[in-house]
């Protein structure tokens, strides 16, 4: 059958041809000014984050079974003479180490997450989602249940040390895989997810055979808690952050370039393999150390970098510090929440980060399309 003849519509809309050309083109000076404005805005956002971080830190110290005024927190830290000795003790010996630990753990996990997401090119990468935290739990479980001991190592250090060893080993596995050209970045991520399941199963197995007493210790550990913050722990974690940070910042430009694509980054002369390897080393030091001291705390390493990215974009000179600050703020607020959510009960902070983290995270993802 002959197809029906389609009559063409008006071929050219005369008036459309006469509409004026769109807006004028911006010149160099406008663009340069706009760029400088964004840079200034970012510095400002970083400063605001810092202030919010300090406020959250102070709030964290003031919250607890006996609430303190913020002014007392200030006095307790800088002018102890004006408070009663018990108040000073509470602030300096009990709350301060907790609050500092919250900050340091938030900084470490969030920085580790930001780097991990970039070098593995996956927004879901974080120490928690790729098995580093699970490996640490496994290490801790082994130490708790088997009552492991090493010569010259005090007993209560065995759990964090073993957790560290396992976490570090899991990152080394990820590293080895990242280095072998065969696996590719997706392979590393899938392998990390496999690690999560493997270690969780092993931990469950250990729990199954554990004694009642070991079990309760184990459960508490695996929930993540700031309760074991000591000055020594703080010094160790603080040192790790201080050592790692300059290297992270030195790699910032290379990581930004990597976001433009791996081939492209390599054609800019960046040794991507080496970048990845060095970054995984930093991640393992940060994540393994913090998990060793506080147990598994999820979502900070995922949410912190995401919020930072939404606020500041992916220029890593800004993204990395911003991630650290958001991590610190979230951890401090989670610590506050863990003290006030159930009156009179100190919840393990890991539970709170997940409880707050998941909905916040979902909300952020869902409002993503209209990001400016």
């Amino acid at each position: 059958m002959e197809p029906a003849k389609i009559r063409p519509l008006a071929v050219v809309k005369e008036d459309a041809l006469h509409t004026p050309a769109p807006a004028t083109v911006p010149d160099h000076r406008d663009m340069a000014a706009a760029y400088r404005r964004t840079i200034r805005r970012r510095v400002l956002i970083l400063l605001v984050m810092l202030v919010v971080g300090i406020a959250a830190f102070a709030l964290d110290i003031s919250t607890g079974p006996s609430p303190l005024a913020l002014r007392d927190v200030w006095s307790g830290l800088f002018d102890p003479g004006s408070l009663t000795p018990p108040e000073v003790t509470i602030i300096r010996d009990v709350r301060l180490p907790y609050a500092l630990m919250a900050i340091l753990v938030g900084v470490s996990l969030s920085l580790a997450g930001a780097e991990m997401q970039t070098i593995l090119n996956n927004p879901l990468a974080s120490p928690f989602t790729l098995g580093v935290s699970s490996a640490a739990s496994f290490g801790a479980a082994l130490a708790i249940v088997l009552g492991l001991s090493l010569p010259f190592v005090p007993g209560d250090w065995m759990v964090p040390i073993n957790a560290f060893i396992c976490a570090f080993a899991s990152v080394l596995l990820l590293e080895a895989l990242a280095r072998s050209r065969a696996a590719g970045v997706e392979g590393v991520v899938l392998f990390g997810i496999a690690l999560v399941f493997t270690f969780n199963a092993l931990v469950a197995l250990i729990q199954f055979v554990a004694s009642q007493e070991a079990l309760s210790q184990l459960v508490f550990w695996s929930m993540g808690s700031l309760g074991r913050a000591t000055w020594t722990n703080l010094a160790v974690l603080g040192l790790v952050v201080l050592v790692v940070l300059p290297f992270s910042m030195r790699a910032a430009n290379a990581m930004t370039a990597l976001r433009l694509g791996e081939d492209r980054a390599r054609s800019f002369g960046i040794d991507v393999q080496k970048l990845r390897f060095a970054s995984l080393l930093r991640i393992s030091a940060l994540a393994a150390t913090s998990v060793a001291f506080v147990g598994t705390i999820g979502f900070i390493g995922l949410v912190g970098p995401h919020i930072a990215r939404m606020l500041l974009g992916e220029d890593h000179r800004f993204l990395l510090p911003a991630s650290m600050l958001t991590g610190a703020v979230i951890m401090s607020l989670a610590s506050v929440a863990s003290k006030i959510m159930v009156p009179g009960v100190l919840l393990p902070v890991g539970i709170v980060t997940s409880m707050i983290g998941v909905p916040v995270f979902l909300a952020l993802i869902l409002r993503r399309p209209d990001r400016a």
Binding site: P26, M31, T38, N253, T256, R264, F268, I270, G313
Partner: protein, 264 residues
């Protein structure tokens, strides 16, 4: 400033796993200031050849730039001489067009001393203006259309003003205006700075009009190599693309008409 080093490729080989894609490929010296288009069917090995010259793919044989052998040169040193624009467009990334271009400059030093912040910004803005997307400078890369992203990607390569610029299908997503604009721009850069441009194109008419030299690649082999009129003939097209074509010289290039495909 102008460059004088020729690029000579001799006995080049490149393989994926155990599959040899390019074997013993040699090309007569490519001159600085020339625009050379690489054409050929899908899977001919065009991308593989470009990535090999960029140092992104392990190769055998020799690639001589002037008196320097590129093959075993460290990636960082090579990146001062050669820049590659990949065929695939940049992924979802929360950087603006301008930040992407500045990032390309900041990624590694290009010529000895590094640029000041002010120079970085000026250089990047210059390139963005020349590519013709100043209105997009502050737009995030993940909010661009396909063609806009291709232009942003081109700007990231151009900004390093390398001696050898490798472009893998730089105009495949562009509208008529920008196709022409990009071809004129790379020709101008080649003349101004003596930059050598090697680009993969699928549009033969554009390649013929805007290239000094055409290399036709099929199954990892050079099938034809010469001026557009020498390299693009009905015979070559029939052999390489399996099409029935008419090719007639014109004042400004070639008139190419494809009448049918060959089926056997």
């Amino acid at each position: 400033m102008s460059y004088t080093d020729e690029l000579t490729i001799t006995g080049l080989g490149a393989a994926y796993a155990r599959r040899q894609i390019i074997a013993d490929l040699s090309l007569a010296p490519m001159q600085p200031g020339q625009v050379i288009s690489l054409i050929g069917p899908n899977a001919a090995g065009k991308t593989t050849l470009l990535r090999s010259i960029a140092g992104l793919h392990p190769t055998t044989g020799s690639q001589l730039l002037g008196t320097r052998e590129l093959t075993h040169m460290a990636l960082a040193d090579r990146a001062r001489l050669v820049t590659y624009m990949p065929q695939s467009l940049p992924q979802k990334v929360a950087l603006t067009v301008l930040e992407g271009v500045i990032g390309a400059l900041r990624a590694s030093p290009i010529d000895g001393d590094s640029l000041s912040e002010q120079q970085l910004l000026e250089t990047a803005l210059d390139v963005i203006a020349r590519v013709g997307i100043p209105q997009l400078a502050m737009t995030a890369l993940d909010q661009l259309s396909g063609g806009q992203r291709q232009l942003a990607s081109l700007a990231q390569a151009l900004v390093r003003s390398p001696r050898v610029l490798l472009l893998d299908e730089p105009i495949s997503a562009l509208d008529l205006h920008y196709q022409l604009r990009v071809m004129k721009l790379v020709n101008a850069l080649a003349r101004e700075r003596g930059m050598m441009v090697i680009m993969v194109l699928h549009d033969l008419a554009i390649a013929a009009r805007w290239s000094d030299r055409i290399v036709v690649l099929a199954q990892g082999q050079v099938v034809a190599d010469g001026t557009p009129a020498e390299a693009i003939t009905a015979e070559v097209l029939a052999h390489v693309y399996r099409v029935v074509a008419r090719v007639e010289p014109e004042e400004t290039g070639l008139r190419i008409a494809i009448d049918d495909i060959l089926t056997r």
